[in-house]
Symmetry: C2
Subunit: 293 residues, 2 copies
């Protein structure tokens, strides 16, 4: 009985420690994901919430390390040859291409004049020649020409953008954009004959319903967008590179895209309107962007 | 005395709970950053450790919300006009540009034949016309022609890549790349007349030593790389898009770039070698990458 009364406080103490450990570790694991999300949002407010979360969560939770792939597939290697120009031609071609691209401006005033569909097909074909991590080609170009769908896209984007401007972006960012006269009214989403929405596939879907890793998918799709911008400029059309903040999930649902696709960019494509203006910005000279070693 | 002996177990229990809570919460806060880092590395093994950590940590710890900027700077807006082609011309230009880009292949066998410096200048000028978040132009193109520097770059990359192949990448990734006959021996780093290392500036440095936010810097610099690839193809030169995994910090130090710059890509540029081969890969047809609505 003496031993029992001596052990009682010890027993209660151990029990309490045990209960606290259990409770706290439960609390931790349920809060961990939310904390990570919150921290990420706070640290990079200008990155689309959808883009921030998507890839990493998918890979944390659902990545199947046991991907299907062709066993020992050894693709045939073939001789490579390419066009060869004289030095004079090369220099001229390099200068002409720079001058062509240097005419490009982000234009926010687009006319509703029709654009041939064949041109749209070809500029997307050009974008699709982009290199990609392990040749996964992780892009989907959704081309919207239906006026009703365009208008629905505009409604979603303007709704979210107004919230962005007032709540999410912060004074500094709004002020940085003020000089570009950017705001949340996006008339071009109605007027442009085509909207191209570029989705990155954060993973691939294999026939056996397993996932295929898309290495460097965001960088790959951004490079493809670079080719697309060059192709648009090359045919005399205009666009503006937009990344509609936090509209991705609603636009994905509207356009019936699968869950492995995340909106990276939206480009309205068309002719400039008659009274189009652009901010009188200059580009950095070569010596400010190039270093020779 | 009866009350005292009744309270003893209760007192000890409370004390124990208190100690456990204190200990666990300390442990948590000190481990949190490491855990986050660790998780990020595990979840995205193919993203350069330097690229993964850098931006976010900088913004978590060092972001100055009080950036300098021109107060109320309202840039003049000017009329915009652009080249205008007939429908036939547009269609032809779009097709020709697609065909030009579709000849592009990632070539790993480069000759040491010299390339005119003027061409390199012009292709980098072309890349510098890329759009960027809030017109921050967050790129630095380091052009290496010195054979000794090229060789040092090769040594760093081959050292790290061998570790990548054996330790960091995992069997699946190595196997995904096997069919492309990619490995850690990079002869082109010595033979190519020029190496272009593309750095993204994760923030800007203002004259008053404060930091300027570079919105969407990775996407912006990747788009610029897309323009660069198009410019290289346009002059009949070849390259291969490489993202040397975990070499960023050592290459940054070697090339004496500031801490706000992170290596995004490395492109060897030159003529293909006589016996260059490429894997016989096909690109997805238009209907697999484009959706019309």
């Amino acid at each position: 009985m003496a031993i029992f009364s001596l052990l009682t406080p010890l027993f209660i103490a151990i029990l309490c420690v045990f209960i606290v450990v259990i409770l706290r570790s439960r609390g931790n694991s349920s809060n961990k994901l939310q904390e990570t999300k919150k921290k990420r949002k706070e640290s990079k407010p200008w990155v689309d919430e959808d883009l921030q979360d998507g890839t990493e969560i998918l890979l944390e939770d659902g990545e199947d390390k046991d991907d299907w792939q062709d066993p020992e597939e050894d693709i045939l290697h073939i001789p490579f040859s390419s066009a060869r120009y004289s030095v004079e031609e090369m220099v001229k071609r390099s200068r002409d291409f720079y001058e062509l691209l240097n005419q490009r401006r982000s234009v926010r005033f687009l006319s509703n004049e029709p654009v041939p569909r064949e041109v749209i097909d070809n500029i997307i074909r050009a974008a699709g020649t982009s290199p990609s991590g392990a040749h996964t080609e992780p892009w989907t170009f959704v081309v919207v020409q239906d006026p009703e769908v365009k208008h629905k896209i505009r409604e979603i984007i303007e709704e979210e953008e107004e919230i962005n401007y007032y709540k999410r972006m912060g004074d500094k960012w709004v002020s940085d954009l003020k000089k570009l006269r950017t705001n949340w009214v996006k008339e071009y989403l109605d007027t442009a004959p085509f909207l191209i929405l570029i989705f990155k596939q954060v993973y691939g879907q294999l026939p056996n319903s397993k996932k295929r890793t898309h290495y460097y998918n965001e960088i790959s799709v951004s490079i493809a967008c670079g080719l697309l911008l060059a192709a648009i400029q090359n045919v005399g059309l205009v666009t503006v590179t937009t990344t509609p903040l936090n509209c991705g999930p609603r636009l994905r649902v509207l356009l019936e895209r699968p869950v492995n696709e995340k909106l990276l960019m939206l480009l309205p494509v068309g002719y400039p309107s008659k009274h189009a203006t652009v901010p009188d910005l200059k580009r950095k000279p070569l010596e400010d962007i190039m270093v020779i070693t």
